[in-house]
């Protein structure tokens, strides 16, 4: 999809919004499946974002410096008896980009819902 440089896609804005919400948690990060689940919950939908679409969007946001990511420790995953999670965290630039996106889309109810209570870092 062609778009202007600096413009967020709707999915990207929603991912950033979930990542901003996750900042209040411990850890202040979110992994891929949790993101898909929360995105579906926001839409009140059972349908999860496809693997390809989700991880491609995450890679794009990370390349753009709007998200950062790290692998959780091996010990943590082994103790929990599951594969390691890749944990994503929104950056200051990501928060600013989200606020800009919401400001630029004030006519969109969805964008307004994303932006409620958000301030850039």
């Amino acid at each position: 999809m062609r778009r202007k440089r600096g413009q967020l896609l709707d999915l990207e804005a929603q991912i950033l919004a979930v990542a901003v919400e996750a900042l209040a948690g411990d850890p202040p990060e979110v992994h891929g499946f949790a993101l898909a689940k929360r995105l579906a919950d926001r839409e009140d939908s059972q349908r999860l974002t496809s693997h390809g679409t989700l991880y491609k969007a995450l890679a794009r946001l990370e390349d753009a410096g709007l998200l950062s990511s790290r692998w959780e420790g091996h010990e943590v995953a082994e103790d929990a008896g599951r594969p390691r999670r890749r944990l994503y965290r929104v950056t200051g630039a990501g928060q600013t980009a989200l606020v800009d996106h919401v400001s630029a889309s004030t006519l969109s109810p969805r964008a307004a819902a994303l932006g409620r209570g958000m301030e850039p870092a």
């Binding site: 693997h51 890749r86 980009a97």
Partner: protein, 199 residues
Amino acid sequence: MSAWGDRLARSWTDLYTRGLPVVTAERRREEIRSDLFEHAACVGSSAAQQINVLGRVLWGIPADLSWRRAARAPQARRLDTGEPMTLRKTSFVLAAIAALFNVWAGIGVWIGVGGEEGSDAGGARYGVPLLLAAAVIAYGVWCRAGAPRRSTILIVAGAAAPMVILYWMAPIFVPAWVLISGVTIASEPGRRASAPATT
């Protein structure tokens, strides 16, 4: 034992990450493994959940292929023919199977329907297009090295023939066509990609 949807998702991930830099490929595989595990842990590994996984795989195929092209771009700049032989061989084998199936089905439908109805016209109506589709695939394979884009279009179009002509068997042919198309596109020789989109 892992469920069929998870196995399919892992196999597809292994396929489209093949030939990419090890770090890039392994990261994507590990993320998908984690996602599948968390998904099953969240809602259980029922048949419905596996269908959900299948849907997530199928809907994500275009994005997966696009991501692969972007991830391959630095390699492609260094080495134009860097596509691993295994993917090319897989692509060739699938195209050959599709062409042979079209020949077999074309002749079978032609003779079978003609025999039952006592008219060659009925069978020819289905049989001839299938045989032509086989020829289209064969031509696509033949021009693979010289005209990669045309070859891809021909193979994908030829492989779609059974799905369109024998439409009542589409539930069987659609997944096969998706697989053949995905592998054919991913293995296109000398395919160059644009840099990853950034915001």
